[in-house]
């Protein structure tokens, strides 16, 4: 039994990358649902991280997110991914309204030497759960998106990374003078993910 728990607490680079990429998938789904980018009926409820999570059923978006998570997992394993940003833009004007910033710090020693770290799954799940709760509760303070929106995903990578066929170089899609809210972070002891949402200042609030 002791050995079993001991093996469970050990986390490898591949395992950490899988956890983090899976988190991105669920986080993206949660953001798309909570921010109303896609209508409510497009989502189906599943249980994950001890929470009821919503996953999109649209085949195109599912394929897009699957492709995204697999690529992110690959980059996480190489240790060349610095940040992942989910950008919500106005469909009509392409103006950037929200940026969901997932900053990633990778333990380079693990990537270079292939050593493993120790952290229990339970603790990681608890940390992810806290972030998911915060994403769900973000609708209380984020401005209302009262126009049709689209989303895009940006990946901040090292410059020496070879760009895959399905990816291309892009601008950072920044928001001028954004409001920022820092959310919880989670750490697999190999990858530390800091979450931060920045959004366009609501003009009504400024008045």
């Amino acid at each position: 039994m002791a050995s079993k728990t001991a093996t469970k607490d050990v986390i490898t680079l591949k395992g950490s990358a899988a956890i983090v990429s899976e988190f991105f998938g669920y986080a993206a789904n949660s953001i798309l649902y909570n921010r109303g980018v896609y209508p409510e009926e497009c989502f189906v409820k599943v249980k994950k991280y001890g929470l009821p999570m919503l996953l999109i059923e649209d085949d195109a978006v599912k394929a897009f997110l699957a492709c995204l998570t697999s690529q992110i997992s690959e980059w996480l394993e190489s240790g060349k991914l610095q940040r992942v940003v989910l950008v919500i833009m106005s469909k009509a004007s392409s103006e950037v309204l929200e940026r969901w910033n997932f900053n990633i710090e990778t333990d380079n020693e693990v990537v270079e030497k292939g050593v493993s770290r120790a952290k229990s799954d339970k603790e990681i799940m608890r940390e992810i759960q806290a972030i998911m709760r915060q994403i769900a509760s973000s609708i209380t303070y984020l401005p209302c998106l009262d126009e049709p929106c689209v989303f895009d995903v940006l990946a901040y990578t090292d410059t020496d990374l070879e760009i895959p066929v399905t990816w291309m170089e892009s601008d950072a899609k920044l928001i001028l003078n954004p409001q920022m809210v820092k959310l919880h972070s989670f750490d697999t002891k190999i990858h530390k993910v800091d979450t931060l949402v920045s959004y366009k200042n609501d003009e009504w609030d400024e008045q």
Partner: protein, 705 residues
């Protein structure tokens, strides 16, 4: 200290013995004296004792007062002690808090320090890499710049040359084409004309031949007739001869006229034949023109090759340009060194910043170490203070015990006094005995002894109080020192808090930057997934738009068809289009014809000009455009004299930007030619005179030979 008079000495009488349980035993005097005297002595002794007792009581009161004072003082000390304890506890709490905070700060600082060190080391590594890369880039950039400059120069030259050549060739080509077309068309026309003429001439010639044949036949017949006539004349007589001869003469004359006519016709026929020969010559010319056209086409191919070369060079230039574009802020080659200078400056600034950060870090480390040492000192001093406090506590307890013992003693003395009083009362009742005086004295002695003890104890207590006071003073001083240190620590904490606040603000600034999405282009690039969703949507939208468009066009088509059914508008539209097309084709045809005409005219003119030049100046001129290794264009003219005896007899000139120079060859290096060249060309700079002289010489040579 209370002084008292010593009691009078009496005979040594045994004093009433005090038993172990402090009870007085009645003494029976063996020598009874007068009771009044005894009583008086006793009273005196009693009064003195009472006085002593009073004095002792007063002393006791003083002692009590002192005791109370000391109790109050001890209470004060206790309260102070408690206050000190509370302060200590508070200080401990604060210290623990501070320690925790310190520990947190220390761990944070250590983490940050480690991170900074890591970052620093990474930055150093990156810096080294960047420096290496920069050096490489600089070297490559310089090389590239040089190459680019060379290539640009080459390209410019090539483009210039190519453009010039192209223009020249195009012009030439157009001239040649025009010439060739014109000449071809002209020659064709002439050929056709000549052919027609030739056919006509042939026909005429045949006719004339036939006529000639007939005339020959007639002439033969005539000759025969003439011979016959001559024979007849010979055979006949002379008078008949004359009119016949006149007739024959007339006939002959007629025949001769006819013959002349026929001869003129034959000459015309010959002329026609010569025309036919001219037509053949023209054919040859056509073939020559065709050859020239082929040459022009070959040159056109060369032009195309040069164009491909130009394209290649442009392609080679493209990566350089893209490389320039990749360098942020660089717009042209000149911007690259500036950019490098800016990058160097940034590097130096970043190095300075790193140095500053390291300095700050070291300062922080030093302050942290100092704080830790101070903390350890404070801890040791606190431990010492605690020990002293415990000692003080023990001392106080001791004092309390002494106080309790003193109070016990006092009570005992009080009890003693009470027993004395009782005894005195009993003795008063019994009118005194001789033994009581001794007992009192004993008691007084005892009391004196006890008083002396008490005084000793009091002096000891005073001494201990003095010591305690000194200790308390020392502790006060230590407390003051500690408070000073605490103040210093508080100041340090405040400075550290300020530092922490500054660091937090820096962190918040960095976080804000992070949140804003800023990034360093040197280390990071932003990628986005090729949004198939968007593409699909766009495709769907375009498909829908196309479908709408299709439906609309179908509807329009239907409407047009309906309209077509009603009227014959469609035919009209078609016919108008075809008419326009026909017009345009006609225009094209006329333009092509005009072009051909121009070309033929040009070709004709240029060939005439060349031939005229050759005929007038005696030299066939061959022009050859070439290029020097440095890219400067040069035209070579090769002159073949029409009187030249061999192909080697040729003069070569190079024409470069308005200057004509003779080129040495085997012919010109001959001594006589060289001499002439020296005189005419070098001395007088008169190439026409030189060539004319050579022409005359070669002409004379050929004529003489």
């Amino acid at each position: 200290m209370i002084l008292r008079t010593p009691p009078k000495k009496r005979k040594s009488e045994p004093l009433p013995a005090i038993t172990a349980d402090n009870q007085l035993v009645i003494y029976e005097d063996p020598n009874p004296e007068s009771p009044h005297q005894v009583k008086a002595d006793f009273l005196e002794a009693l009064s003195s004792n009472e006085k002593e007792v009073d004095s002792l009581q007063s002393k006791l009161e003083q002692v009590n007062e002192e005791m109370q004072r000391k109790e109050v003082e001890s209470k004060k000390f206790e309260s102070r002690l408690r206050f000190v304890e509370q302060e200590l506890a508070a200080a401990k709490g604060r210290e623990q808090m501070l320690q925790k905070q310190y520990m947190k700060d220390v761990t944070d600082f250590q983490e940050r320090h480690q991170k900074l060190l890591k970052d620093y080391s990474e930055l150093e590594v990156k810096l080294k890499k960047e420096v290496n890369i920069r050096k490489n880039l600089e070297s490559t950039a310089t090389a590239a710049e040089e190459k680019a400059l060379i290539l640009e120069e080459k390209l410019q030259k090539l483009t210039e040359i190519a453009e010039r050549e192209k223009k020249h060739l195009q012009n030439e080509l157009s001239y040649f084409q025009n010439d060739s077309r014109l000449s071809v068309s002209k020659i064709n026309a002439e050929r056709e004309l000549f052919e027609c003429r030739a056919i006509n001439a042939e026909k005429e010639a045949e006719l004339f031949k036939r006529q000639l044949f007939e005339l020959k036949n007639q002439l033969e017949e005539c000759i025969q007739k003439k011979n016959e006539a001559e024979n007849k004349l010979l055979s006949l007589n002379v008078p008949t001869q004359e009119p016949n001869s006149e007739g024959t003469r007339i006939r002959i004359k007629n025949l001769q006229d006819e013959l002349r006519n026929y001869e003129s016709e034959v000459q015309e026929a010959r002329k026609l034949k010569s025309f036919h020969a001219n037509a053949e010559l023209l054919k040859e010319k056509i073939s020559e023109e065709r050859f020239r056209r082929e040459q022009a086409e070959a040159e056109l191919i060369k032009v195309q090759e040069s164009q491909t070369k130009v394209d290649k060079l442009q392609d080679e230039l493209m990566p350089w340009k893209s490389m320039i574009k990749e360098i942020p802020g660089a717009e042209c080659c000149e911007d690259i060194p500036k950019k490098f200078a800016v990058m160097q400056k940034e590097l130096v600034e970043s190095m300075l910043k790193v140095g500053e950060v390291n300095g700050r870090l070291k300062e922080l480390e030093i302050t942290l170490e100092k704080a830790l040492l101070d903390k350890q000192d404070a801890e040791t001093q606190l431990g010492l203070a605690k020990k002293k406090e415990e000692e003080m506590f023990l001392e106080l307890k001791r004092l309390e015990l002494t106080v309790t013992s003193i109070t016990g003693e006092r009570d005992r003395l009080w009890a003693l006094i009470a027993t004395y009083e009782k005894e005195a009362a009993i003795a008063g009742k019994m009118d005194g005995t001789s033994g009581t005086g001794g007992a009192d004295e004993n008691r007084v002695k005892e009391l004196e002894l006890s008083l002396a003890e008490k005084e000793h104890m009091v002096s000891e207590l005073e001494h201990s109080f003095c010591e305690q006071k000194e200790v308390i003073g020392n502790q006060h001083r230590e407390i003051e020192l500690l408070s000073e240190r605490l103040n210093n620590e508080a100041r340090r904490i405040k400075s550290l808090e300020r530092e922490g606040y500054r660091l937090r603000s820096e962190i918040s600034l960095l976080e804000s930057k992070l949140g804003h999405g800023d990034y360093s282009a040197a280390n990071t690039k932003v990628l986005r997934m090729a949004n198939t969703l968007g593409v699909d949507n766009e495709a769907k939208q375009t498909i829908e738009a196309l479908r709408d468009e299709l439906q609309k066009t179908q509807a329009r088509l239907k409407a047009v068809e309906e309209f077509k059914g009603q009227t014959d508008a469609g035919h009209l539209v078609d016919s108008s289009i075809t008419e326009k097309l026909a017009e345009l084709k006609k225009q094209i045809a006329t333009l092509e014809k005009r072009e051909e005409r121009y070309k033929t005219v040009f070709a004709e003119k240029i060939s005439i000009f060349r031939r005229a030049c050759c005929a007038l100046f005696g030299y066939k001129i061959v022009m050859d455009d070439q290029q020097r290794p440095n890219g400067i264009p040069v035209t070579f003219f090769t002159l073949h004299s029409i009187y030249a005896q061999s192909d080697d007899e040729k003069l070569e000139f190079e024409y470069e930007s308005g200057n004509t120079n003779i080129v040495m060859n085997t012919y010109t290096s001959q001594p006589d030619i060289a001499q002439q060249m020296e005189i005419y060309v070098r001395k007088w700079n008169a190439i026409p005179a030189f060539t004319a002289n050579l022409t005359v010489e070669s002409f004379s040579r050929t004529t003489i030979s």
